[in-house]
């Protein structure tokens, strides 16, 4: 190849965003679209059930669950801050706290559903409220479960002492997902327990 006449030499270093966070962000865009359909369906069918229990009759605002899940966003944020500074023990502590709070949320969901199914006889097939409620809350809960799996995998490595500060890029990506799940919960709570009731 012949030499090419150069324009002004490139002096600024060529840096582009990192793959992990960009990939996770794009994935979150897709997930937001999925949740968008379920939320729209829920809103559209409010008040249109032909029979059966209504939201006002059977739903109670889930205070403990909400506090649990939202605090877990704080703890995971703290965990990553600690890891970035090299405090791996603090990281592990906050990370495990996140898992506990997530588990608390799932336990709350399980109890709520138990009450709805066995006391109020509300299932997916009872009426439109049943269909849309279990679909939306269930979709969110399944995303919490998936997040818990990711958290548990990291926790396993953490307890084995294998998580080091240079891995903070990856734990950051996981926490992006976890924050997303929390934001979706805020939307779900507003739509189901505030607007829908």
């Amino acid at each position: 190849m012949t030499a090419i006449p150069m324009p002004e030499p490139i002096t600024t270093p060529w840096t582009l965003p990192r793959r992990g966070p960009v990939g996770m962000l794009l994935f979150i865009v897709a997930e937001t679209s999925i949740f968008g359909v379920f939320v729209t369906t829920y809103l559209f069918y409010i008040g249109r059930s032909l029979t059966g229990p209504t939201p006002a009759e059977v739903l109670h605002f889930p205070v403990a669950m909400t506090v649990s899940l939202l605090s877990s966003s704080l703890t995971i944020h703290q965990a990553n801050r600690a890891l970035r500074r090299g405090a791996t023990a603090r990281f592990l502590g906050f990370w495990l706290a996140t898992i506990l709070l997530g588990a608390g949320f799932l336990l709350g969901t399980a109890r709520e559903w138990h009450e709805l199914i066995f006391e109020h006889h509300l299932t997916l097939r009872t009426n439109l409220f049943g269909s849309t409620y279990y679909a939306l809350v269930g979709l969110h809960a399944s995303h919490v479960v998936a997040g818990m799996l990711l958290l548990l995998i990291v926790a396993t490595f953490g307890i084995a002492g294998r998580v080091r500060p240079e891995h903070v890029g990856r734990t950051d990506v996981i926490s992006m997902y976890w924050h997303f799940v929390d934001v979706v919960w805020i939307v779900v709570v507003t739509v189901v327990y505030v607007i829908g009731r």
Partner: protein
């Protein structure tokens, strides 16, 4: 002292890999080039299957009151034809080209997530096979079909358990959910690659237009394929767990399905169309020997189409009985989306203007595309005129329109892309003579088949009918339409024969057989596994033009 010498690569004798070894390499590969080829080969296979389905449809409709195919079989044919062509041919073939070309065009060594890439391919393959296994495995209850038979849009409540008995619908739903995961995974991968792995100097404003358009398309996929997945999950819940999302007897809404489906469905057709614009934006400049006219406008138009296409979906629902205000809104948005599309046609013409046009096969197909797509755009604007659409919707006029869009816009450009990039992928040129035969046979056959369908629609023939009545004046149009099929089959046969023969015996291509200007032509044909020995540094949109014309580089004008 004795030193241990590490053997040079040339010294290691691995022997000639056996056929099984070679197959294994393909199955476990995470190389974007191999996966790209696998996507394209899979899609071409489904193109043949979908083509056979279409052929059977046209044989049945060649004459009125034919009894060649039963109503049930016919209904599965048009459903599977549509589903196959959109999800198992269109999306994968474009994913394949994106997979192959993007890292090469941006000067990278692979996609951002190679294993995710492999996952996306195999899951797409699996979803397709699951859908097709319905022909064999879904039991056919009385009145129910073995394969899905409710049209590729799966309108509720026809797809609800009451009206679609048996499991055919479940195969369709599950197959598409799985294929959708593949599309979403692929979109995350390709978009991340474009945003984070461009070679030094390649700002967003210096990317090839194919790369730009691919970026827009991946964004659209993320925003619209996911809702389809969600909607299919809702239908799955209805069918398997007794939910009532689209159960009209329980208060569910059939129109809600349509809104959700078309929120996906309309941008989906732009997802299928835009990459073709990308191919054409690479090929026309090279064969006119001129830079693309108005690069910034082309980028803006592509992004514009992406955005506006999200706001037109209800033009598939003009007969649903929406309010005059809603109908007018969607008429206007639909009319508006034609403007950036028109701009692109003019920019391509502007590129050709004053050039030195070489009519090789890739360029022939681009010209066929231009004329066909012009017709498609015009009939599209006709369909934006709501009162006219009240007569034309759900008729063969619409069938003609969207085949002009998808065959004119997707298939013709894919053929152009195959002729253009086959030398890069295999190192051999395709035969020009066979290429010309392919082009003319296919052009004649396509127009014979689809121009008459405009008239059939205007004379009152609805779509998805397994037969038509003799006294409606439809005989001539349907007969001519069916006569076009063997020409198209012959054309595709020419292509397949061309590819098989040229793979071994074609003229050796060299790095840059077309004298082109984007980075993929700067490396060997086929490229080494690592793509580039040294990642290039670029200073303009046409790095190879700069190298070939050091006295007049592009960066002085951009």
């Amino acid at each position: 002292m004795t030193t241990t010498k590490f053997p040079l690569a040339a010294d290691i004798d691995e022997g000639v890999p056996s056929a099984l070894d070679r197959l294994h390499q393909w199955v476990v590969t995470v190389d974007h080039k191999r996966l790209g080829i696998m996507y394209i080969v899979m899609a071409l296979g489904f193109l043949v299957v979908g083509g056979i389905e279409a052929t059977l449809i046209r044989v049945q409709l060649a004459v009125p009151d034919a009894h060649f195919i039963s109503p049930n079989a016919f209904n599965t044919l048009f459903t599977m034809h549509g589903t196959t062509m959109v999800f198992l041919m269109g999306m994968p073939i474009l994913a394949g080209f994106a997979n192959y070309l993007i890292p090469l065009q941006i000067g990278a060594r692979d996609l951002a997530f190679p294993r995710l890439n492999s996952f996306a391919f195999w899951i797409t393959c699996f979803g397709g096979l699951l859908l097709y296994s319905s022909y064999i495995t879904a039991p056919a209850l009385f009145g129910g079909a073995a394969a899905p038979d409710f049209g590729w849009f799966g309108y509720a409540p026809l797809t609800e358990p009451t009206y679609s008995r048996g499991n055919a619908a479940d195969y369709w739903v599950l197959g598409l959910i799985i294929v959708g995961f593949g599309s979403i995974a692929g979109a995350v991968n390709v978009a991340t690659t474009i945003l984070t792995m461009r070679t030094e100097g390649m700002t967003l404003g210096r990317m090839p237009l194919f790369t730009w358009i691919t970026l827009v398309v991946q964004g659209m996929i993320l925003i619209v394929v996911s809702p389809l997945t969600a909607t299919l999950i809702l239908l799955l819940l209805d069918r398997s767990l007794g939910a009532h999302f689209f159960d009209t007897q329980a208060g569910g809404s059939a129109v809600l399905w349509r809104h959700f489906f078309w929120w996906f469905g309309h941008p989906e057709v732009y997802v299928l169309m835009l990459p073709g614009f990308g191919f054409v934006s690479e090929i026309i400049p090279v064969f006119s020997r001129k830079v693309i006219f108005g690069y910034p406008a082309m980028v803006a138009a592509s992004v514009g189409i992406g955005f506006i296409s999200l706001g037109v979906w209800a033009h598939h629902m003009f007969a649903v009985g929406m309010s005059p205000a809603a109908n007018t809104f969607f008429a206007i948005s639909t009319g508006l989306v034609s403007v950036p599309t028109g701009i692109k046609i003019f920019n391509w013409l502007g590129t050709m203007w004053g050039g030195r046009i070489r009519m090789k096969t890739p360029m022939l197909f681009c010209m066929g595309f231009l004329v066909q797509f012009l017709c498609a755009g015009i009939t599209g604007v006709m369909l934006a005129v709501v009162p006219f659409t009240w007569q034309l919707t759900e008729t063969y006029f619409v069938v003609a329109h969207f085949h002009f869009v998808l065959i004119g816009g997707l298939i013709f450009t894919v053929f152009a892309a195959i002729y253009y990039w086959f030398p890069k992928i295999t190192g051999r040129m395709l035969s020009e003579r066979l290429g010309k035969w392919h082009f003319w046979l296919f052009l004649i056959g396509f127009n014979l088949t689809f121009i008459p369908q405009h008239f059939a629609g205007m004379l009152g023939m609805p779509r998805r009918v397994y037969t038509f009545l003799p006294e409606r004046g439809l005989e001539l149009w349907n007969l001519v339409s069916s006569i076009g099929v063997p020409f198209q089959l012959a054309g595709v046969l020419c292509l397949v024969w061309n590819m098989i023969r040229s793979y071994r015996q074609g003229a050796v291509a060299g790095n840059d057989p077309w004298d082109a200007w984007t980075l993929e032509w700067a490396t060997s044909s086929p490229p080494a596994e690592y793509n580039f020995a040294k990642l290039p540094v670029v200073h303009s949109r046409r790095p190879l033009w700069d190298l070939k014309h050091p006295e007049d580089p592009d960066w002085q004008y951009e």
